[in-house]
């Protein structure tokens, strides 16, 4: 009944769910994990403030992926940032442009921004045209984003999500437009471009901490605690696996092949 070769993955998933549930119970009792300062998330408010002062738009994109791919957690993380960003743009009355590359993301992004404006007490300031669907095609979408950055002279460029070959094109376009840039992706082959060009960068798994950091929700903070426990388990498995393998007992290796 269980698919061969995936038993170890299922075991790891079950353990993570149990650890998360335990930390969730603790969080409900007020024992929430502490979270370090993350300059990338803090800089978003600074970016919106700058855009307000300059009277120019804030540009946001959640990347090239939608919800039907292994990269979809990055899109969800991007939309979480969009929720926070839209609250800030509503609060400071800064124009917002959010460009999406997948039609499936469009209605979710629209609702996210609408909700952000509602929570900020400015539902009348929300306009559906703030969220722009450009194209499902990678470079057509990238070209559209670059065009918007140049034509509308954006003051802030915030890019959180999955980015591929277009990452440097977008970051350089933001640089040329003179925008303050906050960029983050979990894509290993593109992160170096963001580190190089963006003013603030969120590296890899940091983008998944968006919900916990920006909303300080105990349930989401408990998730970060579970992440840390899982990392220690992974480190233990690696170190233990090496020692056992050297001793001629590849127990962990055999376990992972199950």
């Amino acid at each position: 009944m269980l698919t061969a070769g995936r038993v170890a993955s299922l075991g790891a998933l079950v353990i993570m769910i149990i650890v998360y549930a335990w930390l969730l119970t603790r969080a409900r009792k007020g024992k929430v994990p502490r979270i370090r300062k993350m300059a990338g998330f803090d800089a978003i408010e600074e970016a919106v403030g700058r855009a307000t002062e300059m009277g120019k738009p804030v540009f946001f994109t959640p990347g090239v992926s939608g919800f039907d791919h292994a990269d979809s957690p990055q899109t969800i993380a991007g939309l979480t940032v969009l929720r926070h960003l839209s609250k800030l743009t509503a609060k400071y009355k800064a124009p917002l442009i959010a460009a999406v590359s997948k039609a499936t993301v469009l209605p979710v992004a629209e609702e996210t921004v609408r909700q952000g404006y509602l929570e900020a007490g400015a539902p009348e300031a929300f306009k559906p045209s703030m969220i722009r669907y450009l194209s499902d095609e990678q470079f057509a979408w990238a070209g559209g984003c670059i065009g918007i950055m140049h034509r509308e002279g954006v003051a802030a460029n915030i890019m959180i999500g999955n980015f591929m070959g277009e990452s440097l094109l977008l970051a350089e376009a933001g640089y040329q437009a003179g925008a303050i840039q906050v960029a983050g992706t979990a894509n290993r082959s593109q992160i170096q471009f963001f580190v190089t060009v963006a003013d603030y960068c969120l590296i890899g798994e940091e983008i998944f901490a968006a919900g916990a950091y920006l909303f300080q929700d105990p349930v989401q903070l408990a998730g970060l605690g579970a992440q840390d426990v899982a990392k220690w388990v992974a480190i233990g498995a690696i170190v233990g696996g090496i020692i056992l393998k050297v001793l001629g007992m590849p127990v962990i290796l055999d376990l992972l092949k199950m």
Partner: protein, 208 residues
């Protein structure tokens, strides 16, 4: 319908679809596997409908720009609407797989897309220049490693000193691979936890 109810429906549908797909990945149950295959097909159909929504949204934005004659923008929007109409007309007449629409796609979109991608080479040079100026310890390390890797990949590296290719290979195979694997493990764990949060409806950022 209240906001609360709408949210609960969204959470339920996300949890139902997500748990079904995860179960399909781990379990070999023919009924479940067939049902999930159907569910994924529904997803594809739904995504196709959303393309129509996307097109309407896009037209709404650009028609407004043309109507208001927004400076520096309205002529681009006019061009976009015109080209969109041409593509739709040609595809409707000759079919999406027809030679005319194929020709337009290959000779307009693919050509523009390749041009964009090739611009990346120039951007890489300017970005590298900014990144590898030795202003900090980290930037200096980046500069040193970048020079070694460049020399490793160029024939002149081995000519200068025979150890450069071996050193470059060691940097790629050992510190780089080690750091990459750590990055991937952290990333995978982060994605799984975010997935769990989403399935139980506690990743609230994108949910109304």
């Amino acid at each position: 319908m209240s906001v609360l109810t709408r949210r609960e429906i969204a959470v339920f549908m996300t949890a139902f679809a997500g748990i079904a797909v995860i179960a399909d990945y781990f379990l070999k149950v023919p009924v479940l596997n067939t049902a999930v295959a159907d569910l994924l097909r529904w997803g594809v159909i739904l995504a196709s409908f959303l393309l129509l929504w996307g097109t309407i949204s896009m037209l709404r934005v650009h028609v407004e720009v043309v109507r208001k004659k927004t400076p520096n923008q309205w002529h681009y929007s006019t061009w976009l609407i015109f080209l969109m109409a041409v593509f739709v007309a040609v595809s409707l007449v000759g079919g999406l797989a027809g030679s005319q629409s194929r020709w337009m796609y290959d000779n307009i979109y693919v050509a523009c897309s390749s041009t964009y991608y090739s611009v990346l080479g120039f951007y890489m040079i300017s970005a590298s220049y900014r990144a590898i100026r030795a202003r900090t310890k980290e930037a200096t390390l980046l500069l040193v490693v970048a020079v070694i890797i460049m020399l490793m990949n160029a024939p002149i590296g081995g000519a200068i000193w025979q150890g450069i290719p071996a050193l470059g290979k060691w940097i790629v195979d050992v510190p780089n691979t080690g750091a990459s694997r750590g990055y991937i493990i952290g990333l995978a764990i982060g994605a799984v936890i975010l997935g769990i949060r989403t399935l139980i409806g506690r990743e609230r950022g994108y949910l109304s």
